[in-house]
Assembly symmetry: C2
Homo-oligomer: 339 residues x 2
DNA sequence: AGATTGTTTTGAATCGTCTCAAAGACTCGG
DNA sequence: CCGAGTCTTTGAGACGATTCAAAACAATCT
């Protein structure tokens, strides 16, 4: 209730409001004596600068919005932490919003962020083509796409998911697997489609006859991974795939659990490889092989591109940064299989 | 760049700014004809209300800060989702901040939130006694403590951790364990201390001679849990505890992994029980028994208390809501042990 | 027509801070 | 002691929306 303002500080310190403002923003141009007086007044009154008024006046905000597909997927939490670490160094702030894969929620968050006049928005959009995002940009909010193809209207950072899928597929084939299942989700999600395309190309490139089965769940969750795993475990051994490539680690963990609860050994009976390399992957009881994405780096780079655009809007040219994924082989696919 | 303001809208619609404001805030008091004209102008110009200016004028913000100890612990993500679901219904917004257990970061976040004049702050403080929080309250920002004892200056929500520890201990004793290890962290963290106190009391209440070992790591992470697990696994079988009660599920998962990688069977060779019941606990290859906390409910209740305080500051009396934890028995502790 | 009541619309004041041109205070050489 | 430079400090507008007393307009009744 007792929120003090700059005027009260000025009164107590017997200076003008302009001087107080100067002390706050360019202390070096004000004489040590008055500066000290002002600081004392600030302390005595418990004055805290009203960032809202400041923002209104200067027109620039210090916060960046980050809208992700699923906060409960640690992958996105890590991306957020990467972004936040950079924001910290620029005394700005990241506000994390969860669209939960829902277009409506995504839109509401974008509206709120735009109304707050945030400095810019980092987003992993629910749908590749998003008119909302384009209008947002047209109205002047800088946007950086995370893990989504750029349209030329903005910068983007992404990881080559096709390559990731290919690496995973090649690895399984090299380990002797001839019957591989892709445990995926809706192909409308670009990441899923690309990873699938990657493993498909790896299969096509193999000499021998490698079979690729594809299953698809509505969402990329632990529960869905487990459900698909249950179905696979119920199949007769000679019909079962010998390896599963899961669209993300959440699904892979669910799949793994289904294997365990049906007494199937991983990797002996069935190898598993996931995607993202979240921390829980390494910590699984059978440590999970996974295609690693540079998660923090993704977030860091995204916000750096944004800050760059904000700093020099004129000479800024939109860029698309693409990182290479990385194969991390752990126990869940470590075994060589004699076909 | 092309951010339109209410004045431009007024001009185009040939009305005064006051009328535009009315259309935005109390459309019912303005005649249908002008209302329509104003809406058209808004659409044509792509006008988006400046929440910053609004906030400055009306003095009330629509955002709530939530400062948590560790975003990479899914427990806190779930708390956040609970809070957000309530915020959604009150068209306000939750901004999630991560103190990462660091007092400095915590303070920076609190400063930023106060400068933004947020409606209020929900916080799981790093340290129980926090002068910053008290000053914050004194200066007029409502605070609700999450999972921390209230000082009477604010509301709080928490789960009875002592009871949780006791339930876990009693369960293990009932299953025949006579040598139990508490896998914990710094006792300065209230949650850890309480859970430890709980299991201690359960042990004291047992007739037979039950031994309680205690180990402590600097942080409650998967890696630390694994490290302690490695040490335990290296002990000769007759010196090893037969059960481990971990301070949270992250540690329990790490511990579990160490068991697996050393060929120790869970629960046959060693039972494990965790705390929080995060989703990954059920999804572990040996599904983890855990003491469940009502995670979303915790977040929901916290923000409801805050909204209540904000709505009626006068007649508001601070309350402390305490929830009961719940034992979820899964495979990792399912076995009855014959001593 | 004039009075009365009710409905819409107006526009000036306000929120707390920043900015910047201009005024004030000092210093120093002549 | 004056005038030319430096430093410091001042104070009057913004910024964009909301509010509210008052004005304008409309409808109804004498």
């Amino acid at each position: 209730m007792a929120t003090r303002n700059i005027k009260e500080v000025a009164q107590l310190a017997r200076v003008s409001v302009g001087t107080v403002s100067n002390v706050l923003n360019r202390p070096e141009i004000v004489s040590p004596a008055t500066r000290e007086r002002v600081f004392e007044a600030i302390k005595k009154l418990g004055f805290v600068r009203n960032e809202v008024a400041r923002h209104l006046r200067v027109g620039r905000s210090r916060t960046v919005g980050l809208v992700v597909l699923d906060v409960s997927n640690p992958f996105f939490v890590d991306v957020a932490q990467g972004a936040e670490s950079v924001a910290d160094d620029h005394d700005s702030m990241v506000v994390l919003c969860n669209s939960a894969g829902d277009t409506g929620r995504e839109r509401r968050h974008l509206d709120q962020l735009e109304q707050q006049r945030v400095m810019g928005i980092l987003i992993t959009p629910v749908e590749t083509e998003s008119p909302w995002v384009e209008e947002l940009i047209a109205r002047g909010t800088p946007v950086v796409l995370v893990d989504s193809p750029a349209t030329g209207l903005q910068c983007s950072v992404a990881v080559d998911d096709r390559l990731g899928g290919q690496i995973a597929g090649a690895h399984l084939i090299e380990r002797g697997h001839r019957r591989i299942m892709f445990v995926g989700g809706p192909m409308s999600i670009k990441q899923v489609a690309d990873r699938h395309a990657g493993v498909t190309s790896a299969v096509a490139a193999a000499d021998g006859a490698v079979e690729l089965l594809t299953s698809s769940a509505p969402t990329l969750t632990v529960a869905e991974g487990r459900a698909i795993g249950e179905r696979v475990a119920a199949q007769p051994p000679d019909e079962r795939p010998t390896a599963a490539f899961c669209a993300n680690d959440m699904m892979a963990l669910g799949f793994l659990q289904a294997m365990a609860s049906h007494g199937l050994r991983v990797p002996e009976d069935l190898a598993i490889i996931g995607y993202d390399d979240i921390d829980f992957a390494a910590a699984a009881a059978v440590p999970l092989s996974s295609v690693r994405q540079p998660r923090e780096l993704l977030g860091r780079t995204a916000i750096e591109l944004l800050l760059e655009e904000v700093a020099e809007p004129e000479q800024h040219r939109h860029r698309q940064v693409i990182f290479q994924p990385d194969l991390v082989i752990r126990e869940s696919s470590a075994l060589r299989r004699d076909s």
